[in-house]
């Protein structure tokens, strides 16, 4: 249906809905549930240079209308992803956005350089905002100068467009976004998780072995909407929005705020069929809103 098609740097999306990184693995499990070619795109799990086991368990904890996770970027490493995961995904007609992470700038650069050459990787998503890795990680996403440098270096080596994923754990999201745009990023994805914690009443200790973790789910949606609303008015690159999406109304809210496409994360756990369901419901919503094409709605809240 062309009324849902969205063209973004590097990625031509059948529809604006994709699973968010880390909530969909590399697609294998969900491929048993539905045809992945239905999706607008897939944001695969963060890839680091070396394979990583991640944090000790428990790695997840439930919160009010949300959850905490401290997976710690478990993944099979660049070569594992390049040899096993990406080739397997080629059977589906769906663009892949590769989420790139690391502890040092060098890691990001090396992963970006190589993974961008995979035939089905149409864009990178620089994960400079993962709150669950001790080294590096968070600083990349909270200091504009550091984010600028990293984006620039990655842009130099990537053969596909680069999206940078913003951390909401900052006082001034607009300067962060502007620094990243200036560094040459092709797009932004926002938001990653808020830093949170829960304590186990029985033991008195944090539930997560890692102590703190990233808060996701509907609880954080208002923070995401606010940040996208602010940033979309101040940058000229497109935004893929995420944070608690659970309904077509939520998708429209993100698009009104200024996102051009959206990703669904946590709600894949509550309802593993959510992405195809939302995609199916979108055209009727456009009818209800009296618009022909979804892009007409982008930024309507401030336009």
């Amino acid at each position: 249906m062309d009324r849902l098609r969205v063209e973004l740097p590097g990625i031509s999306l059948k529809n604006p809905v994709m699973p968010a990184s880390g909530c969909f693995g590399f697609g294998k499990e969900f491929s048993q549930l539905y045809d992945l070619s239905l999706l607008g795109a897939i944001m695969i799990k963060a890839t680091t240079f070396e394979q990583r086991f991640g944090n000790p368990t428990p790695r997840v904890a439930e919160t009010a209308a949300g959850m905490l996770n401290a997976i710690g970027l478990q993944n099979p490493g660049l070569s594992g992803v390049m040899t096993n995961e990406l080739p397997w995904l080629e059977q589906f007609d769906v663009p892949i956005i590769a989420n790139v992470a690391g502890s040092e700038a060098e890691d990001y650069v090396e992963v970006a350089k190589q993974i961008s050459t995979a035939p089905n990787v149409h864009a990178l998503e620089l994960n400079i905002s993962c709150p669950n890795v001790k080294k590096g990680g968070i600083a990349f996403g909270t200091v504009p100068e550091v984010a600028y440098e990293l984006t620039k270096r990655v842009k130099e080596v990537s053969t596909v467009p680069v999206y940078v994923k913003l951390s909401p754990n900052v006082a001034d999201i607009v300067s962060m976004a502007q620094a990243i745009e200036e560094a040459g990023a092709d797009g932004l994805t926002m938001i990653n998780t808020l830093l949170g914690m829960r304590i186990d009443l029985k033991t008195g200790k944090p539930i997560l072995a890692n102590k703190s973790g990233g808060l996701s789910g509907p609880a954080i949606k208002p923070v995401a909407i606010r940040m996208i609303y602010e940033v979309s008015q101040k940058v000229n690159i497109p935004i893929i929005g995420m944070g608690g999406i659970e309904s077509v109304d939520d998708i429209i809210e993100f698009i009104y705020a200024g996102a051009s496409a959206v990703a669904v994360g946590t709600l894949n756990f509550t309802d593993p069929f959510i992405c195809p369901k939302l995609i199916e419901q979108l055209p009727a919503k456009l009818d209800e809103l009296g618009v022909n094409h979804i892009s007409e709605l982008v930024g309507r809240s401030w336009k």
């Binding site: 880390g22 909530c23 969909f24 693995g25 294998k28 499990e29 969900f30 048993q32 549930l33 799990k45 394979q51 086991f53 991640g54 368990t57 428990p58 790695r59 997840v60 904890a61 439930e62 919160t63 009010a64 209308a65 949300g66 959850m67 996770n69 997976i71 478990q74 789910g217 509907p218 659970e246 946590t266 894949n268 756990f269 509550t270 309802d271 593993p272 069929f273």
Partner: protein, 257 residues
Amino acid sequence: MIQQENMKIISQQQLAKDIYELTLEGEMVNTMKEPGQFVHIRTNPGLDPLLRRPISIASIDKEYNRFTVIYRAEGKGTKLLAMKSADGVADVLGPLGNGFPLNEAKENQTALLVGGGIGVPPLYELSKQLNAQGVRTIHVLGFETADKVFYAEQFALLGDTFITTVDGTSGTKGFVTNVIDEHQFSFDILYSCGPTLMLKALEDRFSDRKAYLSLEQRMGCGIGACFACVCHVEDNPNGYIKVCSDGPVFPIGKVAL
């Protein structure tokens, strides 16, 4: 095939203090394989609570397309589940994971089934199926206290059954290992499900035996996509398994407990 189904609630009844038995009906039952698999239940529509709850399949009735779970209503989600009444529906994702290998137990052999607390339920369907294929079963079931004991009679119909309670209010006082150490059962295969400490105690004793343990971990997706439920494997610092999709049942010694 993993399915999501709004299953019909056939009955809900309280078995013991905080312990409920829920019987559901639907197509999903057709695709249930070995005992030890589990389902992921959405205990409430809406966002509170947000995550599904993993619950083991306790018995399967393929003729009527029904299966039963037994669960402890303790936290927010399971308490809401306990409030559902017959004729309602429950949103179930399943069947999930890999259960206890039945064909490892041969006719006329003896299987020792050891369960602790809410680890007891999956052993019930296991015992039924083992008995059906001519395997003798011995059950050692541990609970906290007398008023939390459930299914003692049902298990007794299938084989020798030993109950332990921590406070001695029912059966032997102490843990399942007290009974096991005392009786020195002879068995060909061991199956167990229960708290990690109990599984560890069994591993200490029986690591050289043919044995299968069912593990527990906090879960996100329940289908292998989110990496919430991983465990290290023994003897390989880079190896790992996912409890939800590789397990929850593993051969003894495979997973670092």
